[in-house]
Symmetry: C2
């Protein structure tokens, strides 16, 4: 399998991306060939510095970079020689099987939605985040910002996609699906939540266990928590800020450290036909390594085929 | 001024309510006569035990209690001799000027909305929570659950009511009003947030400073943060659970302690014609004292008149 990596994306590019490649290739389980898209000279020098064997990498030269604050659609259209545009081109033409970048999130989303297709049966692709649970486990929250206005059937699909991902990638057996809501009982919530509840209850592809409230996000009540992207984005950014504030105030604890989102393997765009993973701008080597491992696992475990199956059946 | 207190509400009633009364009456600034509604014999004994002078209290006997899990409307209707029903009756007939309870939240809301009237000009009364800011200041978030389906004009009114409260009760000069959203710039957000943005921008009664994101909730970006009750309830409960988890994990810090919502003076129902304050079930003496002080301040500063003025002008 071939996995493409945007070497120019993120605040610490390309050095941390190179470190991530070195980390990944030193893993026993590493089985992909990596396509490193970026400034050829720099990448050649850095990979040599980090003693990365040429056997498992291909350097794909790019001449431009899409900045973190550029307008996504405009930049993708005008900068055809940028690492992100080249990455999506390789993905669309099948030269790579998955694509990863910690660069401009908007450009990554636009690329995911328009350069490659949505997965068969998917109305709206989605993005998720892992949630560090109090008991040491990891949950999944989705959507976290791609779809700020949702219809009930969108959330019903998020539940399916999230369940497949939680099962195959996070390793959770029969993940408990919870609906983000303002009360425990059926019938609680706004009009949207009430409509979604009925759909989830009747969905045989998921293990729906009822509503979850704000107080349940960090506990074990549900593994996959479903909401619209407006609510999810606020939850995610609030969780990130908890970590940042405790960090600034020098409050240290292993549990708080798990809110350090740079440790996670980025956010896969779920519901598109090929794995695309968007990293945090602040991604360091470990995050890049984890993103490559998640992409590899998504390909190995045929996550997208299984999502499609659960959605169209 | 006369302030009514439900002595039977809350997990630690009536003892902690009595402690709160004693605390309050020992404050220099205490200027209200308290109407203590509850089991006469118990309250008489406890107030004597706590050496509470009879000069500033009236005991109003009640024979029933609305349990924490009773159906609000049904219980209020059937238990006319309950402390909450008696409290609203006293409030509606003008015998008390404000009413406080840490009892059944639903019954308190139903009482607020149906026993007394909405403030002139108010479409939807609302409930708020104080938010402990990273810099030591205190912000206000509203709505936190009373209105889970909102129209843009509701949020526009929440902004006005929140601003008046933040100014007069929290002591914030020209409170910065922020709209809870998923991005900084105008034009971001779901359909509702976009519509609310336009209204807030044109509202001359508030100091609107733009959107706030999840990461800004705990920072100084805005003093009054406006959202629908679905979003606000999830934010509030998540913040509460963050405190509880750090507490369970024995992570201690002064800042985290400020998330201990039992220290705060309850949640006033804003937009009804008389001050009503709903305490947390877990309210202890300090919380009861603070609730009485907030009620007193709301009456002294004529908070409701000023809200009305800002809303109808």
């Amino acid at each position: 399998m071939n996995i493409g990596l945007d070497m120019m994306g993120g605040d610490f590019a390309p050095l941390e991306a190179v470190k991530g490649v070195a980390h990944y290739l030193s893993e026993q389980s590493a089985s992909a060939t990596l396509f490193l898209i970026g400034d050829q000279q720099t990448i050649e020098k850095l990979t040599a510095d980090h003693k990365i064997s040429k056997e498992h990498i291909h350097i794909v030269p790019s001449e431009e970079v899409i900045g973190m604050h550029e307008h996504p659609t405009k930049a993708l259209k005008e900068k055809q020689r940028s690492s992100i545009a080249i990455g999506f081109n390789l993905l669309a033409t099948g030269k790579i099987d998955a694509f990863i970048s910690a660069g401009n999130t908007g450009a990554m989303l636009v690329g995911s939605l328009f350069s490659i297709k949505a997965l068969e049966g998917v109305i709206r692709p989605t993005i998720s985040t892992v949630i560090p649970k109090e008991d040491g486990n990891t949950g999944l929250l989705l959507d976290v910002g791609l779809n700020v206005d949702c219809k009930p059937e969108h959330l019903n699909q998020f539940a399916v996609m999230g369940s497949v991902f939680a099962h195959l990638i996070l390793g959770i057996d029969k993940p408990k699906v919870g609906l983000m809501n303002v009360g425990e009982e059926e019938g609680k919530g706004n009009i949207q939540a009430q409509a979604v509840y009925s759909l989830l209850k009747g969905n045989k592809h998921i293990n729906f266990t009822g509503n979850v409230e704000g107080r349940d996000i960090l506990t074990g009540k549900a593994d996959v928590m479903v909401c619209d992207g407006f609510t999810g984005n606020i939850i995610l950014k609030m969780a990130e800020s908890f970590y940042e504030i405790t960090h600034r105030k020098k409050i240290h604890h292993d549990y708080l450290e798990r809110f350090n989102f740079e440790n996670y393997g980025g956010t896969p765009v779920l519901g598109v036909s090929k794995p695309v993973i968007i990293g945090h701008g602040i991604s360091k080597g470990v995050a890049f390594k984890n993103m490559i491992l998640v992409a590899q696992k998504m390909l190995e475990k045929k996550v997208l085929e299984k999502m499609k199956k659960a959605l169209v059946e």
